[in-house]
Symmetry: D2
Subunit: 287 residues, 4 copies
Amino acid sequence: MGFELGANRYGKADIHLATVTRRDDRHDFFERLLDVRLEGDFETVYLEGDNASVLPTDTMRASAYALAFDRPDEELERFGLRYSEYLLEASPAATRAEVWISERPWDRVVTDGVPHPHTFTRGAHRWTGHVLRTREDVRVTSGLDELYLLKTTGSAFGGFLRDHYTVLPETEDRIMATKVEARWTYTVADVDFSKERETCRDAIVRAFAHHDESRSVQHTLWHMGKAVLEAAPNVDEVAFSLPNLHHVVADLAHGGIQNDGIVFVVTDKPSGQIEGTVRRSEAAPTA
Amino acid sequence: MGFELGANRYGKADIHLATVTRRDDRHDFFERLLDVRLEGDFETVYLEGDNASVLPTDTMRASAYALAFDRPDEELERFGLRYSEYLLEASPAATRAEVWISERPWDRVVTDGVPHPHTFTRGAHRWTGHVLRTREDVRVTSGLDELYLLKTTGSAFGGFLRDHYTVLPETEDRIMATKVEARWTYTVADVDFSKERETCRDAIVRAFAHHDESRSVQHTLWHMGKAVLEAAPNVDEVAFSLPNLHHVVADLAHGGIQNDGIVFVVTDKPSGQIEGTVRRSEAAPTA
Amino acid sequence: MGFELGANRYGKADIHLATVTRRDDRHDFFERLLDVRLEGDFETVYLEGDNASVLPTDTMRASAYALAFDRPDEELERFGLRYSEYLLEASPAATRAEVWISERPWDRVVTDGVPHPHTFTRGAHRWTGHVLRTREDVRVTSGLDELYLLKTTGSAFGGFLRDHYTVLPETEDRIMATKVEARWTYTVADVDFSKERETCRDAIVRAFAHHDESRSVQHTLWHMGKAVLEAAPNVDEVAFSLPNLHHVVADLAHGGIQNDGIVFVVTDKPSGQIEGTVRRSEAAPTA
Amino acid sequence: MGFELGANRYGKADIHLATVTRRDDRHDFFERLLDVRLEGDFETVYLEGDNASVLPTDTMRASAYALAFDRPDEELERFGLRYSEYLLEASPAATRAEVWISERPWDRVVTDGVPHPHTFTRGAHRWTGHVLRTREDVRVTSGLDELYLLKTTGSAFGGFLRDHYTVLPETEDRIMATKVEARWTYTVADVDFSKERETCRDAIVRAFAHHDESRSVQHTLWHMGKAVLEAAPNVDEVAFSLPNLHHVVADLAHGGIQNDGIVFVVTDKPSGQIEGTVRRSEAAPTA
């Protein structure tokens, strides 16, 4: 009996680049972090140390900067499409290229009501994109992460299963807080990605804010998912990863204080973790 | 010859709390992280293991929650004043109490132009405060950190000292980026701290944006410092800690590309680090 | 057209626990971090806010501590088996339970050559385990991560594919450094997991050290994988995730210095990233 | 009234370098992270944007690599002495240079009992050094950090001050855990720094392990401090920063379990924080 190579891939992590577009009246600024992987027929690289088929990860890095030069103000998804195309062209042995992009938006600074032409401040969440390209096909996902949302009421958690180890009290009114990570896919290949992202983000925030009968993070996830699909006809599926960032009512009884939802212990660990996908269905409309 | 105890202090780090104020038409939400230290006559604690004078750090933690309950919407500086007062009262052996507070502002969510009564999203920088209290005196500092600012032009760096190891080219036009940490002190004890903080933050951002003849981070620091003192008459000194977050023009010459300020390598390490204080002077006005 | 729930799961992240076993002559100490997820028929939780089928994540947390009490010195894999069994029993709606465990080994302190009965210092890498249990089946994986390995010679990288963007010089002698993450699966369910882990770790370190004809990280990965399978007959597959932590020869030419492999710039970002699996094959032995 | 420049300094943070010494029979490997600051007469830099006196932080970076080339196996303290000397020579306006160095030791890999000539694995704590040089004087400090120590018994905490907010129970037997940061100064300028560091580290570990009548972290700190001064005659003062990494006995009463020190909740935040200095005294010997 011998040994063989199973699943494998390689690439570059954390390629950090920025681009500036310089117009007469204003500049734009983009900052992105790239991760890239190639899969394919690379067995001899591993077994024989033969690098003839290896596009060095340093070339992946260098090419990202060169491609960004060509179109410095391109949407992150379009950059991912172009970059993955280059990777498959440059690497004949590869059958599949995968690119993850995250962009921290730098908002234009406004002073005394006037947008400044070339000064920016870093925003509070990140946009993300993912491109998976084979020789036959390509799929694009857009998303966001590090979007912190919190509501001080309109969230309950009760009626749950109880067993020997259950100590959690039921509550009709709690703080619900999460750091939203969302990714959505499109039914068509060519959309205005920036506009779609804004639409989806706004739908998520609005649904989180207005869904005041939340029975659980899962329940809110469903409402946010529906809201995205209702607001964005080009989107056919949205996946969420939602940590439940617990805010526990501080026990002040020893000091004779009945703390009815005024002061909370913010706990970093552990956190609940809710992950779910909402998609369009051929079946009759659901609630 | 023997041994003796030198400088010493003790306390609690990273007390993480949140408060909610519940009005009829809207809630407010505050999230704060506290650090606290006591100094004083604690020699027997160390040398003899006698804890009679030790206020446990767990009591420091518990008391922070109880004090926050009393005034959940208090400004962070006023909380620090009250908390440090409690600490000295509770610890007769202590001669000095020090409290650091950092507050991540959660901005009220606006949907369709309407501020939401109880939903918030986490902001992009942090407010900070520091209270140093002795039995005779107290000093308050306000500040901010994690304020990322970047400008794509209006910044130069040249005319510097050169030696054997200098390879850096001079530049008349570069990206300047920093993560501002600022702390300022007041000439009077009783001010509207929240308003002062907004004023100082706006002055910093405005000065960074409009100072387009920047010859160095130091040069910009001076302009930001003057701007704070001009905008905030109650402030008599402001200290900055400014990393120079380098954005290096990507070398694309090998690809035949002359990259004239379009694509940049964002480097995390190393970074320049500029720290300076600007204060009022009795002398004649400086430029 | 309506909407429907797609893939979903929920659980608790970062349950941090420690156990002590107290024998007459010595104590043992274990520190573990747990992540757990359940999948199953939870549609009504999302669509209707009906929590009747939800085992709260807080119960997952509480039960972990209770189960650890029963067998405080159990191997991490056996704890994962028992914990996943509890989770499926406690949650009738669940069809699948998944548990990730990571354990930072605390090494017994040795003073003057004598192992101390109850004092420990934190080790430099982590052990990991993963249990995936359905109603019919269970799979166990063991592993390690944060094992930093570096060699100052015996590693080359050349003969690679070149394109328009390739600037990397070939090298016959470079520093190779990585942070090993490895996971392996067993052919049998009941092994001495602790011993297997030691065996696999030693095989990885030995192969990394002695493979001095390395042509790439991929090449070394293959040798480490073979070494694991040769040393551990109960293991049938091992997967590696190997960042290439670049150490770049510092360019000191401007100072008239020819730096032939003495001083290196350690770069944190970007890094290469090599991921591959080595498994047993029915085919004839490979080299 | 005008404005003036107060305290200021500048430099480079996180210069990351590695060196290799290549002997016939074995290599040595060192990895270091440097922070450096200059203070002096730099007023015109800030006020006038005149960089004539500014040694660029990029030159500080480049010179660190060049100086490391000259003596790749130098002790970190000696490197700091030489580097700070260069900085003051290169910067006539500077009156003070400060260098912080941290070194993650890479331990030589041992396979089958044999030390490997050129393979290393990253150790679990870090060595540190600090050099403060003026035109007249220089001071050297050595130290360590990230040394995690834990004992499962031999530590108590009781007899403390109680007030309105005190809920902590007294305990005669608890887990004590800390991440030691220590810094010590020498009475003489020229010592075998590496040996001194080993001596001080061993004294700290031994005192932590053998001091089984610990009444508090402060009490243990004192014993560790004395141990350093007793073991290292060239050291005249040692300062510790000791977080109290709380391990709280898990409350399992709801499950009918009396958890007498078997299972613990490891909490990351908040932590106690104890900082103290032990030094030699001219007075009569203390206990």
